[in-house]
Symmetry: none
Subunit: 460 residues, 2 copies
């Protein structure tokens, strides 16, 4: 039966693409309220898709963007009842001028070598990825009349804004959503031939920091010298967050960081990632993190502190003689292992408070507070999914960490008691969150086939 | 003879006011093209005034509003040939609803204590001030038949719009306008009893600094840790620009800064400016500049480094997991004494270059490079003008600095080789650039008498 399903997937690839393109045309940018209607449209579109697949599906309102929840019919097998998770919202498109074609007019581009890719905002993150699963379900239904395992689906519209409604939604629907295993398709492959199961995800604490000095903007001639400059204060504090070896200097920051097991360290080392390849692709040559850690450790297994935005004073063309009243930054921490976001938050606040110059006040407002997550390497679903991926791609998947957060995965574990299998087909050069985002056709096609196999493997 | 001139000024005060009111009724707002004809009318009116005083006067067209230039007859004395500068354009009047009476219907208001003030747009800035000088000339001519020194006059109509035509005009008429000494009446008194000569104006070097790391914006999960963050690099460099005592740490920054003479230091101290008054007005309590310098020194006599703007990454609502490719700042230095803007530029570039982390590049683009202006405290015209002011007001003028720049004064020095005496009679509460602008009658009357005395003193 699986072979017939895979044949069907191959035969129907063009219609699968048409459906994906419909979804990509919806500009569901979640960070900007101007796109709220588009987010609602994307949710409606997905609920309709699920209904077509025989799901009991609905759009469920939240204080932010809606959730789409669908429950498939009971399956014949005794395999796990899985909850597939994806997100239909996308990153903002700015800077728009760097896009070669409009971000919400997806198109297929054929490379010189004949390979094809889907270009558009959300192509990889996460519309293209979530559609691999829905298309796999569609193929199973078309060929076998039912899915090999019982499937429920949860699609959110706030992943790119830190999922503010997710936690209350899971809490309010805990019984409905506490199933056996979560499947998440929002990660990458190792390369276009090597699939990956991601077993470690970093958590995050992120916050706005606003420092205020004078109660108004000042003329830098009239007040320059005596007047406190909040940009200076902010820059000075940010400049102290790391020491010269790249280590974060906040008190107790590394207290709950676990050391990576030696065999995993060795396996990662064996992946042969070179700084030249990894950093060369983005115009860099040297790692900037902790200098006594390998590149992959820095990205997957070590916590960071990043400045994601900074703003203050006059930033337009030319020059203005202003000493501003306020300066602000967006600061985030990628967390690992047992680091507690709340403890990191308190330690960061204390770090800033301790360094605040006279006459300055600071306000913080947190965006995200998520713990890191880790899937046990010897779990049954992991073993089965790994075997299915090996059959599809001809090689065993790499068991890796990921530098980013997928907040839902932590909540699945914490609130719903479910482990999650993180299997995605995006590639490193997909320009996720950047202009000219793309998703290789081989990712999309191989992704659909992979999920068809994994569902079968879990049902065995 | 001077006493007779002063008596004449007192006797003719009402007719002096009538002439000022005529000028104030002309709504010569330079920023708004709708008032172009009014600007031309003000220029014509002033040229006619100068002709009445025996000047060879003309309205000289520019690409913007016209200049009025007048040359008085040769004087009997061998004193300096002075160039008086003022401006006939005024600020817009909005918000109009906050004016108690129409801004171009000047009126005399008598306070409860019997003192009087002239209310209307331009009363202080700068029509009332420039008329103090013309009325002093009128009195000298009426009583003595001639002026005590040779006088030329330059009145512009674009001061409130940044004087775009002034530099080309000075350049084109360099020979005609390169006289011995400039007199500028566009500054304030210390208070209504204490005249001021402003002898120091800070210069400026300002520049954009753009630091680039990766060749594109990066996802902070995918690259956070190994990837260089240009905001961190910029913040760290900015954070090192000052030491903990508020001193700028750039090599050689203070090399060409002259120490203020002890008597001037003492005189400034005696002005009794308190941090509570000066900083309290803007919501601050402590000076932020060099901690071993007084507030006024920090503002008038010491150079500064300010960050006037900073920008990088995502700065909108919410949060974006980005490590940006670039981060930028606008940095300016207020300069004093003999500091060379070009040398400061080079020292700053070296400071940044020395601290630039691996894989970062920096671009600079300068906005302004102006030397500070300082009239030597022992210069002959300054000493004579100070004595004249002391005779008029019964106390020695305060010899002050100003934290900002007055571009015209720099150009008089740079292009025409002239020092300038900055003597004005406006008060801090004159509502300059605001609704209900006013000029105290005591400023106008004392100003006319002061210029009459100063002209005599310069001629002795």
């Amino acid at each position: 039966m699986l072979d017939k399903v895979l044949d069907h997937i191959d035969a129907e690839l063009e219609t699968s693409l048409e459906r994906l393109f419909e979804l990509l045309r919806i500009d569901s940018v979640s960070t900007d309220p101007a796109y709220s209607a588009s987010c609602a449209r994307a949710a409606d579109w997905l609920a309709a898709e699920l209904k077509q697949l025989g799901f009991d599906a609905s759009v469920r309102p939240t204080p932010g963007h809606a959730m789409v929840v669908g429950h498939g019919p009971q399956a014949g097998s005794t395999g796990p009842h899985v909850l597939f998770y994806g997100h239909y919202d996308v990153q903002p498109v700015d800077p728009l001028n760097l896009w070669e074609t409009p971000p919400f007019e997806p198109r297929m581009v054929t490379r010189d070598d004949g390979s094809r890719m889907i270009v558009g905002r959300g192509a990889a993150d996460d519309k293209g990825q979530l559609m691999t699963f829905l298309e796999a379900c569609r193929a199973w239904k078309a060929v076998a009349g039912e899915l090999p395992v019982q499937v429920s689906v949860l699609l959110e519209g706030e992943e790119e804004t830190g999922s503010p409604s997710l936690l209350p939604f899971l809490e309010a629907n805990r019984e409905e959503l506490s199933l056996d295993l979560a499947l998440v398709c929002d990660t990458t492959m190792w390369n276009s031939q090597t699939p990956v199961i991601t077993t470690m995800l970093r958590g995050m604490f992120s916050t706005d920091v606003v420092i205020t000095a004078a109660d108004r903007d000042l003329h830098s001639g009239r007040f320059g010298g005596p007047a406190r400059n909040p940009i200076k204060a902010l820059a000075s504090i940010i400049g102290q967050l790391h020491d010269e070896t790249g280590r974060v200097t906040i008190d107790g920051f590394y207290d709950d960081v676990r050391e990576l097991p030696d065999d995993i360290k060795a396996a990662w080392q064996a992946l042969g990632v070179s700084e030249a390849d990894y950093l060369g692709a983005i115009g860099l040559t040297e790692t900037a993190g902790e200098q006594d850690r390998s590149l992959l450790e820095q990205n997957w297994a070590r916590p960071t502190c990043e400045i994601n935005g900074i703003f203050g004073g006059y930033t337009g063309e030319g020059f203005k003689t202003v000493i501003p009243s306020k300066a602000s930054a967006k600061v985030s921490f990628r967390l690992v292992a047992d680091q507690d976001p709340a403890a990191i938050r308190e330690a960061f606040h204390a770090f800033v408070d301790d360094r605040l110059p006279p006459d300055c006040t600071v306000e913080f407002s947190s965006h995200a507070e998520n713990r890191a997550i880790a899937m046990p390497f010897d779990s049954e679903p992991l073993t089965r999914a790994a075997a299915a991926l090996e059959r599809e791609w001809g090689r065993a998947p790499a068991l890796l960490g990921a530098g980013g957060s997928i907040p839902i995965v932590g909540e699945f574990k914490r609130m719903l008691g479910m482990d999650a299998l993180l299997i995605g087909f995006s590639l490193a050069d997909d320009n996720v969150h950047s202009p000219n985002e793309k998703y290789d056709l081989s990712s999309f096609h191989g992704g659909i086939r992979s999920w068809a196999r994994i569902m079968a493997a879990l049902a065995d």
